[in-house]
């Protein structure tokens, strides 16, 4: 008589229940950590827009919505007088970010092309950390540097500005700050261009420089555009350099001359925050902080979203 083997049941394959419970617990814990990011985003959006709305409704009651585009003889940013000329601070931000991209785009892209196309692996190991160390320097240090060296020793004599602080100095300092970001994103884009494209171009007898300009750069154009947009977005949101070096002058209304001192949005926010120790969240002037913050959030979000789309839409499939 052959002994029948013990019947195998489905439960025999289920594994140790303790291990299974642990597995389910960890899965839940890890998911909770990932889902927290949605909670954070929701909190940011909710905070910004409820507070911005409080400001707007308060403003309509007190001074009328017209105070946002102050049509007075000299429109300007005077939060304490309930005059919130949005164009004044938006102009400041636009000028600063344009100057900074004029500095960061050629420097960052040039550095990226050199690192990805020309530098030998050994040179790369030496040169790349320059950008990484530069990227690691806190922005408040750049702000101090702009006040102390860039403003008085470089921009003032070169551009004949009247004082050490100006939108131009702010823009140049922010440009240096975002150069590593510009370089790192562009370099990733350049390095993802397949070697076969370069080889084909070289095989046809093109010079190295021709290959770079006519083949590699066009192939990487989506990544480079994304790098530009992200750099602008970073420049718009940069606060400490603007707070230290822009001159913090909301009273130079709607200035369009980069050599003038002015008030970028982030600088206006820093000023409101520092000057408001006694009146936390009570006055209209302080509430305007949230409105400017919401505006800043929307501007940077739009730029980042467009950058993401550019990368997806124009990514060449090799």
């Amino acid at each position: 008589m052959v002994t029948t083997p013990a019947t195998l049941l489905v439960s025999d394959f289920r594994g140790n229940p303790r291990r299974m419970r642990k597995e389910r617990f960890m899965r839940g814990l890890l998911f909770a950590a990932a889902a927290l990011s949605i909670v954070i985003s929701a909190l940011i959006v909710w905070t910004l827009f409820t507070e911005a709305w409080t400001f707007l409704s308060g403003l309509i009651d007190e001074a009328g919505i017209g105070a946002l585009i102050d049509g007075g003889k000299a429109p300007g940013w005077y939060p304490r007088n309930s005059r919130f000329d949005i164009p004044t601070i938006v102009y400041g931000t636009l000028i600063v970010s344009m100057v900074s991209i004029v500095v960061a785009a050629p420097l960052g892209l040039g550095a990226a092309v050199y690192l990805s196309e020309y530098a030998s692996p050994r040179a790369r190991r030496v040169l790349k950390p320059i950008l990484e160390v530069l990227a690691g320097i806190p922005s408040v240090v750049f702000g101090f540097f702009a006040l102390r060296v860039l403003g008085p020793d470089l921009i003032k004599p070169l551009f004949d500005t009247t004082q050490n602080t100006s939108l131009l100095v702010t823009g140049v300092a922010i440009g240096v700050l975002v150069t590593p970001l510009m370089a790192s994103i562009s370099e990733d884009a350049l390095r993802s261009v397949p070697a076969s494209l370069r080889e084909a171009s070289t095989g046809l007898g093109a010079r190295k420089s021709t290959t770079v300009v006519k083949v590699v750069l066009p192939a990487a154009v989506s990544g480079i555009i994304a790098a530009l947009l992200i750099s602008v977005s970073r420049a718009i949101g940069e606060t400490m350099i603007a707070a230290l070096a822009s001159g913090r002058l909301g009273q130079s209304p709607r200035t369009t001359d980069p050599r003038d001192p002015g008030l970028p949005m982030t600088s206006a926010m820093a000023q409101l925050a520092v000057g408001s120790d006694q009146v936390v969240g009570s006055t209209l002037a302080f509430q305007s902080l949230f409105f400017v913050g919401a505006l800043l959030f929307l501007m940077t979000l739009a730029l980042n979203m467009v950058a993401g789309r550019v990368v997806r839409k124009f990514r060449n499939a090799y």
Partner: protein, 321 residues
């Protein structure tokens, strides 16, 4: 006949000349030179910045010696020191390590190892990328409304607790993204071997994936702490003290955590706004002190950054070799 021969020789000569002529590609060299110049400009700025800061900081350390590191904020450049700034920054780093490290690493592991490719996952990923692009000053608003004004019973208002939590949230996307990247680089064979001998997903993650990805994750976390140490804008909104800050003797640790605070970058911001009058005893100005404060901050930040860069380079080499 002679004519054709002459033509042939002259053509071949010109062709050979065109092919082998050692005329230098001047434009090419110029192009490469201009590109290198871009990098060197960055190096120049870095050098001038460092040299300027260190040169002005040396007299401060000579005249004030350790007093500069152990004194509190004060209104005279003869007495002011950065001890409270260092303390604040270290506490903030502690919050980042305790809060942002585990949450960020867990989230990164979830996205790479556990999440199915569905709409929720894609939404979380998009959301994290967008969070990474939110300006730091906006995180300051979050901290001000939620932690300073909202959870006052816990944070005590404008305190280092509120600042620490806010900066932990600020660097969370960095940690998640770098963790996800290093986990993605773990070879699939490692996981398959684990699953093959019957390990659960978490056991494979804990025993095989995480150890292999550890150097990459560690690099990301160091960069995150460095970022948090240098961040000033959110602290301005939360209400770090820029002027004078009296340390009360005999304060309990809870009182210290819930009380007024400052941090290194805020000390620098505050001193940059001070009147530049030399102190009566030492002859130092706040500008000099600020250079020294920057040396202290840069020492903390660049040490972390440098360690991260070295770690990554070693890690890359090992993988290639």
């Amino acid at each position: 006949m002679a004519i054709t021969a002459a033509i042939t020789t002259s053509t071949s000569k010109s062709v050979r000349a065109a092919l082998t002529d050692s005329k230098r590609d001047v434009r090419g060299y110029l192009f490469a030179g201009v590109l290198l110049l871009c990098l060197l400009t960055a190096l120049l700025v870095l050098t001038v910045l460092m040299w300027d800061v260190v040169a002005s900081a040396i007299p401060v350390f000579q005249k004030r010696s350790t007093g500069f590191l152990t004194n509190d904020l004060a209104s005279s450049p003869d007495k002011a020191g950065v001890s409270q700034g260092i303390w604040g920054s270290l506490v903030i780093a502690g919050f980042v390590i305790v809060l942002a490290f585990p949450i960020g690493i867990f989230a990164g592991v979830y996205l790479e190892e556990y999440a199915k490719s569905n709409r929720l996952t894609r939404f979380i990923e998009l959301n994290i990328r967008n969070l990474a692009g939110v300006p730091s000053v906006v995180y300051g608003i979050l901290g001000l409304v939620v932690f300073v004004q909202g959870l006052t019973w816990f944070t005590g208002g404008r305190s280092v607790i509120a600042a620490g939590i806010t900066l932990a949230i600020l660097v969370l996307p960095i940690i998640i993204i770098t963790t996800a990247e290093s986990v993605r680089a773990v070879p699939a064979g490692l996981r398959e071997a684990g699953f093959g001998v019957g390990a659960t997903q978490w056991e494979v993650t804990r025993d095989h994936v995480l150890p292999y990805a550890a150097p990459g994750i560690l690099t990301g976390t160091m960069l995150a702490v460095a970022r948090a140490l240098g961040e000033a804008a959110p602290l301005l909104l939360i209400g770090a003290i820029t002027g004078r800050l009296a340390s009360l003797p005999g304060e309990s640790i809870v009182d210290q955590l819930q009380g007024k605070f400052t941090a290194m970058p805020i000390v620098i911001y505050g001193w940059a706004n001070e009147v530049n009058k030399p102190g009566k005893i030492t002859g130092l100005t706040f500008e000099d002190l600020n250079a020294a404060a920057i040396v202290v901050l840069l020492a903390m930040v660049l040490l972390l950054n440098g360690a991260a860069i070295l770690l990554r380079n070693r890690f890359e080499k090992r993988r290639q070799g």
